[in-house]
Structure formats: structure tokens, C-alpha cells
């Protein structure tokens, strides 16, 4: 008599509550002798008499009462744990920790995030803004579930799924309108004659444009460096030069005639935005579900 079977405690609990082996058996959907047997096992294992057998049911001994207080608490906590788990499963609890860069948040994340939040309002959303490098760092250390990053991302610890294709371009304001609407494509070398408005060094967009210019045999030199695309656009509009931005980001301004895209002799290759997560850990259900939503949004685009 030494190996413990925790099921005995459940039977003990039901028996103590109902004060009857027979009733406990009914509630547990087993037979009365089975309950009798289990209680006996438990008593023998613990070396203590837990119930007094009366003519009309059973009642806890003092020792049994002492044990009962603990067992009841213990099971209450276990039940709470299972409830909590079910909540997480049904997405009526939990959190979604996601990171992305500013422009990506506004143009690619928000639409899906709105849908997700509407569908699962009880899931807490933690949104972090940052550059691709920062995002991937937080993914690795496990403080983010998902991150939207610029591809390619060479990190063996992260799994990446491509989602959206984005197209970059150079835009200018009224001041350089003629250049944009001359009808002739602008060669890369001629771009350098213009003041260039670029994102600050360190961003993957900056690295991308520098790389592209280099393949065109041109050394990039930024005249104005800004941290956010919003600001770039604003400066371009005011005629400070040509800003390198995502086309989708300035769609309204292009349509409204406040900005003009420079036609290029050599097209800028499209870039991909993807969603990354840590390979090692499986995704929390909330993140899993959100990724599905993102993928749906990407397809329908």
C-alpha cells in the first residue's frame, strides 16, 4: 500500500460532500462498491481512518475533516486552471503580442487587427512598434508572439511567412512636378541630382533603397533623413526633394495631385512583408488565429 492514485481524492471529495458512499457513486457514475474500495485504498495508503461508517451514511473523522479542507481547496484550484485553459482555447481570454513598423501597422496590420478584435474582444492586444531588427530581437527573446517584418529575414530561429507585396517609389511635390510629368523615365544617376529624402539609417527601407541605388551604380546620399514616413511625405510635398516611400502609403496624395511619382528608367523591385514567429515555441492560439486572418487579408488583396 504505497502507490498513490489521485483519483481516490476525487472520490473522497464527493463522498465527504454527500456524506454517503452511495450518493457519491451516483454522482461519479460508478458503483457503490467501487467507491467503498477507493476510500479504503486511500485510508490504507494514508494510514488514517477518514470516515466513520454510520448506519445512515458516513461522516468525516477529525482527521478526515482536516484532510478535506485541503483537498477541497486543491481541487478548486485545479478546476480554476482547467476553466482558464478552456477560456484560452475559446479565445475568451489570453493575449496577442504583435510587433510591426509604423507604416506596416497602419496599412497592413490594422485592418486585420480590427477584425480580430471584433471577433475576440476578450483577447488583450499588445502592439509594439519597432524596426524589423528590433521586432526580430523581441521575437527571439519571446516577448512577442508575431512580428511583421520586411523580407528577406535571415534568422534561423524564426519562421517567416510572406504575406504582402509592397512597391516603393520616389515622389516629389509641386516644385518638381515637371520632372515627374515630362514623359521620360528618370535614370538612377539623375536621381542623385535631386535632394533625396530618406528614412533614417538602420531601417530596412533605408538599407533597401541604398542597396538598390548601388546596383544602379549610384552612391546614395541622403539630404534629409527622417524617422517616419509621414514626415518624409510632408517634406516632399513642400518641395524639399524626392522622397523614397511605399506607394500604398501615398496613394491618397498621388490621387489628389499633391504628390507626383517619378517614372524610373529601371523599376524598383517589389519588396515583401511577412509575418515571423519563433520556430521553437508553438504559437498561442490567439496568434495562430490572427495569422490566419492576416493570410486571408493578404490573399484577398
Amino acid at each position: 500500500m504505497q502507490s498513490m492514485n489521485l483519483e481516490w481524492y476525487r472520490i473522497f471529495l464527493y463522498t465527504a460532500r454527500s456524506g454517503s458512499l452511495t450518493k457519491a457513486a451516483q454522482q461519479l457514475h460508478i458503483t457503490q462498491p467501487s467507491v467503498s474500495y477507493s476510500i479504503k485504498q486511500l485510508e490504507d495508503t494514508l494510514g488514517a481512518k477518514l470516515f466513520d461508517r454510520l448506519s445512515k451514511g458516513v461522516s468525516l473523522t477529525r482527521e478526515g475533516q482536516s484532510l478535506y479542507d485541503y483537498v477541497e481547496q486543491s481541487f478548486a484550484i485545479l478546476d480554476a486552471g482547467e476553466k482558464r485553459l478552456q477560456s484560452l482555447q475559446r479565445l475568451t481570454a489570453g493575449e496577442l503580442r504583435i510587433g510591426a513598423s509604423g507604416p506596416v501597422i497602419r496599412h497592413m496590420l490594422l485592418p486585420s487587427l480590427d477584425r480580430f478584435h471584433a471577433a475576440y474582444p476578450d483577447v488583450r492586444i499588445r502592439l509594439t512598434q519597432g524596426k524589423t531588427a528590433e521586432i526580430s530581437g523581441k521575437l527571439q527573446e519571446g516577448s512577442l508572439d508575431l512580428g511583421m517584418v520586411h523580407l528577406p529575414l535571415a534568422d534561423p530561429e524564426l519562421a517567416v511567412r510572406p504575406l504582402f507585396s509592397i512597391q516603393d517609389c520616389f515622389v516629389v511635390g509641386e516644385a518638381y512636378r515637371k520632372l515627374a510629368q515630362a514623359g521620360r523615365p528618370v535614370a538612377a544617376i539623375r536621381l542623385t541630382k535631386l535632394p533625396l529624402l530618406l528614412l533614417s539609417p538602420g531601417s530596412s527601407t533605408r538599407r533597401f533603397v541604398e542597396g538598390w541605388l548601388q546596383t544602379q551604380g549610384v552612391a546614395a546620399e541622403a539630404d534629409i533623413e527622417l524617422g517616419s514616413m509621414d514626415m518624409l511625405v510632408e517634406m516632399a510635398r513642400r518641395g524639399y526633394g524626392a522622397a523614397f516611400v511605399t506607394r500604398a502609403f501615398v496613394r491618397r496624395e498621388l490621387a489628389g495631385g499633391q504628390l507626383f511619382e517619378l517614372p524610373l528608367a529601371e523599376p524598383i523591385p517589389p519588396r515583401m512583408i511577412g509575418v515571423a514567429s519563433r520556430k521553437a515555441a508553438s504559437l498561442p492560439l490567439a496568434a495562430e488565429r490572427f495569422m490566419t486572418m492576416l493570410a486571408e487579408a493578404a490573399i484577398s488583396e
Copy 2:
């Protein structure tokens, strides 16, 4: 997949702690496939993936982590409960609730209680003084484990075990010395010529002496009524009359010549003191043990 086996949680706990099925298996003295099987059962039953299987062991998923916090607490409480129970079993915890009347406490309870307390200093002793009627009431309502009472006790709910035999007597002080030492036994009728010092009405000793006097054809009439035997003895010593007391209670005074026992024509029948407990509930271990000690003391007397 629906019936729950709580053993799975234990295995879950060990696995989560060690981060390895293999290590958990070693600690639990079972094989690795057995752990693998149990975890799978638990996951299927809960409908949630609890561990990520890595190349180097396993690690909790977010859901698993959430569950773990609860399971750990739950088991800690259960362990505490088992520890507490073992303490009660070893009498390194618990309490002994006992009741008796004043004289009984001093002369019959204390010697055994001293031994008990020396043997089990961690058992809290709750001692209640009261008349037999009060004691038996508290026994029935369950607020006492044991009660030392005067026999016979006619209560179907209480189990009684006779222990000590006591002998009552009438004692007088110096003032009535001649009566005590005249060599002639004193008849009951002559007792009433003396001032009688009796315990207050309501005590079983008072009932007993009244009953005895009545069998002798004498109407008892107390000249002095006091609540405690100590006081009776004191008054008798000062010559106020004849006090009805337990002989063992005045052994020292009789030996020292401060009190004198009246020889009676008709002997007072001995009374029995017993220990009573509720029939329905079994005794707590502490009470059980103490009763053994009481019985030993009674035999060796």
C-alpha cells in the same frame, strides 16, 4: 477521450519542471513512453497542446504554462494536507478537548494529562471544567472529545468506560473530633444533628449524597452549601460541621490530623468515575491515546 485521470497531472507537473519526458520518467520511476502516453492523454482530454516537443526536451506552450501555475499550487496544497494528516497521525499536531469537574481534574485527570503532555507536547490541550451534565452536553454537541463523568450516565448517544472508583465520606474538624474517635459508628439519623456541609445543588455529588441519605430514611438538609470541595474542606476544618467529600480528596488532611472521618453505621457505597465520548464519531487519535493512558493509570491504582 473524456474520463480524467488525475495522475496525469502529476506526470504533467514533473515533466514541466524537468523540461524532459525522460527525466520526468526517471523521477517518477516509470518509463519514458509511459510519460509520453500520459501527457498525450492529458492533452487530448483537455483539448489543448501543453508542450512543444523540441529536439532537446519539451517546453510548455503558453496554454501549458497557464495550466502549470494552477497545477503547481493545487499539488502544493494537497501535499500540505497530507503532511498535516501525518502530523495528526504522529500526534505532532492536533488537539485534545477534554472536560471534567474540578476535583476530578485535580485527582484523576492531571496525572495522566501530565504524562500525555510530556509525551506529545505539540498536541494542544483544551480543558473544560464543568458538572457532569454540562460535560455530557458538550460531548453530544461535539465540542468535547472526552469527558470524565460520574457514573452511571444514562445517555444513549454517549459511550462510557468506567475507570476509577471513589469513596465518599463525612469529615469533621477538631471541634467534632470526639464524635469521630468515639469508637462507635455514627448512624445516618445522627448525622442530621450535625451541621451538614454539602456541595451546591446541581452537582452529581450533591444528588448522590441526597439519594444515599434518603435510602437511610433521612431528609438531607444542607446547612452550608458551597461550589467547590476546597471550600467545604476548609469550613469543616474550622469546625462548621461535617462535610461530604471524596476521601482521596482529603487524604493529606486525614493523615495530618486536621480532619477526621466519621465512622458510619451504614457504609456509603463507592461511586465510579468514567470517561465518556460520543458514540457516533470515532475518537481523534489524540483522544484515543489519552484514553489509553487514563485506563493504564486506573489499573495501576
